[in-house]
C-alpha cells in the first residue's frame, strides 16, 4: 500500500479540529484492451488515486475529497467549511477490528502487460472464430489492482488490495450490435475456460433465427446477467435510506413473507469465490454474510453507519462509496449498498428449466433497467436479446419485445430456480429464475 505518511498527516491535522476523523484512500492501477472484428482497436492504462476525509464535531459532519493530496490543510478547511450545512451525524467511526491483511498472492497480475492480455484474448478469438457464421466476435480484456485503505481516530487502520483480471467475449448477431456475452473474471492470471466459450456459441446459435411473438402473459426466465433488473428494485426498498424517509414498499414488513419461499437474497464480500473479496466496507465496518430475504421473508435492511444510527440498528457492513452510474469513489459519501450479492441456488438444471417452459421468454440482456419507478418495484425492460421458448425449446430471438411487471408481484410466482450460481458483469452471483405469468409486449 502507498501514501501512508500523507494519510497519517491528514488524519493528525483533522484530529486537531474535530472530535472524530476518518481518512479514506483508494488507488487503481489498471490496463485494458478491446478487440473488435478480429483486431485490437484500443489499449489504455490508468493509475488513479484519491483521498476522502470525514470529520465529526459537535454532532455535525464535514466532508472533503481530493485526488492529489498536495495541501492537506486545504482539505481540512474544506471539510470544516462543509459543516456550514449542519449535517447531523449521530454515529461514531468504528474502532480496530480483526481484519485479515491482503495476502499478496496475485500471481503475475500486477505486472501483466499488454502483450500478455493480448495473447489471452487472441486465444479466445481463435477459439470462437469460424464458429460464428456471418456474426462478429468482439473481445475485451483488462487487468488491475485496486487498493483501499481507511484510518480513523478510533484507532482503525485497515487495508485491502484486490488484483483482478477479466476477459469479456461477445458474439454479435449478423448485421447488428446485439449479441450474447460471457465474462471470465479471476483474481489470478488465467485463461477463459474453453467449455464456457463453447456454451456461449451454443446460446448464440439458438438465437440466430428472428421470431415474431404475440403480446400476452407468459413464463419469463431472468438469466443471471439480467438479474440486476429485479435486484436494483429490491435493494432500493431494503435500503436504510428508504426506511428512514418512510418511502419503502417494505416498510413495516420485516419478518413477513413478501416473496416466494424459493427466493433468498444475501450479500457476502468475504466469500472465498469472490474476486473483489473484501473484509471491511468503505467505512471500515467488518463485512460478512448479510441476509436480506430468506425463503421469501424480508429479514434485514441494508445500512451504512449513518442510517444504522438513525434507525437504531447495528451497522451491517454494507456502507460503500459508489453509485448506480460509477463516478469517482472518493467524491461520494458512503451509502447503503448490498455488494457481492447472491441469490441462493435452487434445484433445477438450466436444461430442465427451458424444457418446463410451455410458452415464454428467456431474457439474456435488457435495455432500460434503470428507467421506471425503481422504488415502487416496477420494471419495464427491452429484450436485448430475449429468446422465445415454445414447447420447451428455444425457437429464436424476439424482435422488438419488452417485459414488464412489479418485482413484488412477479417474485411471488417463481416456478424454478437454477441449481448453480454464475458470476455476472454487475458483480453478483445468481442462478437463472423462471417466473410465471409475466406481461410481454411485442410488435
Amino acid at each position: 500500500m502507498t501514501d501512508i505518511p500523507e494519510m497519517r498527516k491528514l488524519l493528525e491535522l483533522a484530529a486537531r479540529v474535530s472530535d472524530q476523523a476518518e481518512v479514506f484512500h483508494s488507488r487503481d492501477d489498471a490496463g485494458s484492451l478491446s478487440m473488435r472484428n478480429g483486431k485490437v482497436t484500443e489499449m489504455s492504462a490508468t493509475i488513479q488515486s484519491g483521498y476522502a476525509l470525514r470529520m465529526i464535531r459537535d454532532g455535525m459532519i464535514g466532508t472533503a475529497y481530493t485526488k492529489n493530496l498536495l495541501y492537506p490543510g486545504e482539505m481540512v478547511d474544506n471539510a470544516l467549511a462543509s459543516m456550514k450545512g449542519k449535517v447531523q451525524a449521530g454515529f461514531s467511526f468504528p474502532g480496530p477490528a480483526d481484519i485479515p491483511e491482503p495476502s499478496g498472492e496475485e500471481g503475475s497480475l500486477s505486472s501483466m502487460g499488454f502483450h500478455d492480455l493480448h495473447s489471452r484474448s487472441i486465444r479466445v478469438l481463435d477459439h470462437l472464430s469460424g464458429k460464428v457464421k456471418d456474426g462478429q466476435v468482439d473481445v475485451a480484456a483488462g487487468r488491475g489492482v485496486a487498493e483501499t485503505r481507511i484510518m480513523n481516530t478510533s484507532g482503525l487502520d485497515v487495508r485491502s488490495r484486490r488484483p483482478a483480471m477479466y476477459i469479456f467475449a461477445s458474439l454479435l448477431f449478423p448485421n447488428t450490435e446485439t449479441g450474447v456475452r460471457k465474462l471470465y473474471h479471476s483474481s489470478t492470471a488465467g485463461d477463459f475456460p474453453l467449455q464456457d466459450l463453447d456454451g456461449l456459441v451454443d446460446i448464440y446459435r439458438a438465437g440466430l433465427p428472428e421470431v415474431d411473438i404475440p403480446s400476452g402473459r407468459m413464463k419469463v426466465m431472468f438469466t443471471p446477467d439480467t438479474m440486476y433488473t429485479l435486484l436494483w428494485r429490491l435493494s432500493a426498498a431494503a435500503s436504510g435510506r428508504s426506511f428512514h424517509n418512510r418511502i419503502s414498499p417494505l416498510q413495516d414488513k420485516r419478518g413477513r413473507k413478501v416473496l416466494s419461499k424459493k427466493f433468498t437474497l444475501y450479500g457476502d464480500p468475504t466469500d472465498p469465490e469472490e474476486v473483489n473479496r473484501r473484509f471491511f466496507d468503505d467505512e471500515g465496518v467488518p463485512t460478512g454474510e448479510h441476509t436480506v430475504f430468506k425463503d421469501g421473508v424480508f429479514r434485514n435492511l441494508v445500512l451504512n453507519l449513518d442510517y444504522a444510527d438513525k434507525l437504531g440498528e447495528e451497522p451491517s457492513g454494507t456502507g460503500y462509496r459508489g453509485g448506480m452510474w460509477g463516478g469517482e469513489t472518493i467524491s461520494m459519501q458512503p451509502s447503503p449498498s448490498l455488494n457481492c450479492s447472491r441469490i441462493a441456488p435452487g434445484d433445477s438444471s438450466m436444461k430442465d428449466m427451458i424444457a418446463g417452459m410451455d410458452r415464454g421468454v428467456m431474457i439474456l440482456g435488457v435495455l432500460g433497467a434503470h428507467s421506471g419507478n425503481i422504488l415502487n418495484g416496477d420494471f419495464s425492460v427491452g429484450l436485448n436479446p430475449g429468446y422465445y421458448v415454445e414447447g420447451g425449446e428455444i425457437r429464436g430471438r424476439v424482435k422488438d419485445g419488452m417485459v414488464a411487471g412489479n418485482v413484488y408481484q412477479v417474485l411471488k410466482n417463481i416456478s424454478a430456480v437454477e441449481d448453480r450460481l454464475h458470476e455476472t458483469p454487475n458483480g453478483g452471483r445468481y442462478p437463472a429464475i423462471v417466473l410465471d405469468d409475466v406481461s410481454v409486449a411485442a410488435k
Binding site: A45, T66, E177, I330, S331, L367
Partner: protein, 454 residues
Amino acid sequence: MLDRLRSMIDGVRADFVDIRYEIKTETLVDFVGKEIKSVGSNRTDGYVVRVGRKGGFSSATVTREEDVPRAIELACEGADTIVATGGKRTELAEVSVVQEVVGLQLDGDPRRMDIDGKIRLTRKYNDLMLEQPSIETTSLSYREIGREKSYVNSEGTSVSEELVTTNIAGEVVAKRDDLVQNVRVAIGGADGFNRLLDRDDVFIERALIAGRLLDARPVKGGTYDVVLNPSLAGVFTHEAFGHFSEADIIEDNPSLRAKMALGERLGSEAVTIVADSTIPGQIGYYRYDDEGVAVRPVTLMDRGVLTGRLHSRSTAKGFGEPVSGHAVAEDMRFEPIVRMGTIYIKPAGNSLEDLLGMLGDGLYLLDGKGGQTSGENFTFGAQYGFLVRDGKIGPMVRDINIMGNLFSTLQSIDAVGDEMELSERGGCGKGQMNIKSALGGPSVLIRKMVVGGA
C-alpha cells in the same frame, strides 16, 4: 500551465502525442427530505496522455504529475503492442493548429457566490415540493461542476477552456399506502447561476404531477401510436438515433457501417436532426473538444436522409469525413470518446393540437425517465402519459417504457411539432458520464411503438 504541459511531451519519440490537464471543481448541496445530507466544495485534478506511433494509438491517465512519464511509457507500450499484433491502424484527420485561451461568460458566476446562498435557494425549492399534497419526501441537489482544461499536442496546438455547469435537480416522491411514485425535476445550464433563480413554478408543478400519479393506472403493454412531448422527443432522438451518429459506435462493425452510409434513407421525410453544441447558453455549449478541435454544427439527417456524422479526429480520418469537434471526456480520468452534445429534431409546422388530432387514438407521453441504447436497439422511459381517444387527452397513465429499433422507428415518425425546447440538465453514461448531453426539440408523432406495461 500550457508551457508546462508542452515540456512534459517534448522529446517523446512518437508521430503524435497530446496531453490534457484538468482541474475539476465540484460544489454540492444535497437534501433528502428536510434533511441536508451533504455540503461541500472540492477540487481534483489529473492528466491524460495519448500517443500515436507507427499507426498504433494508445492512452493513459494518471492523477499525479510525477506519474506523467509513466503514463507516456504506458501509452507508448500500448501503441507499440497494437502495431506488433497487427491491430487497428489509427491515423488522425488533419486540423488547423490552434492556440487559444477561451474564457467564460456567465450570467452570475457561481464560483464567486458563497455556499449559504446556494443552500438557501436549494432549501426553498425543496420546501416548495415538500409542501404539496401527498409528497412524502424529496431528493434535491445543487451541483456546480467546473472544468479548467488545458490541452497541448505535438502539432503545436494549445487550448485552454473553462466550463461551468450548474443545476438544481433531483426527484420528488409521492406515497399512498404501499404505492410510491416519483417524478424528476431539473433546472440548470452552462451560462451562470442566475438562471436558477425565480423558478418556483417548476418545482411546484413537478410535485403536483407526482401526487397525480398516485391515481394514474399502469399503461397496458402493447403497440401504440404515440405523441412525445419535447423533453421525451429529445430522449428519443438521443437514444434512437444520436448514439448511432457517433462514429466510434459503428466504426468497427462493417455491416452496420454499410447500413449507416451517408446518403442512405433512414427516416421519414418529416425528420431533420441536428447536433449543435455552439448554441449559446444551452447546457451542451463548448468551443473546443478534448482534442483541441473547434466544435461545429452538424446536420445529421436531412428529411430522412443521412447527411452527417459526429467525429473524433481518428474516426473522421477512418471514415474520410470532416472533423466535427465531438471528442469529449467526462473529466481527467478519461480519454475522449465521440459524444453527441446538443441534439434535436428540427421543428416543423404542427401545433400540439394538430399532432394529437393526427394521432387519433394512442398515448401522449411526457418527460424522459432515462433511456438506453445497445447497437440499433433502444429503450426510453416516460415519466407520465395520457390515453388519447379521438385526439382528446384522457386519463393519466404511468410505468411507461418504450422500445424500438433505429432502422424501423425513424421511418415511423409521421409529423413534427412547431415548438423547440432544450433540456436544462444532461447526463449520458456511454462508458463515461457526459453532463453536457443536451437534448430536446419539438413534439413528434410516431406510429406503432412497442410500450411495455402491466
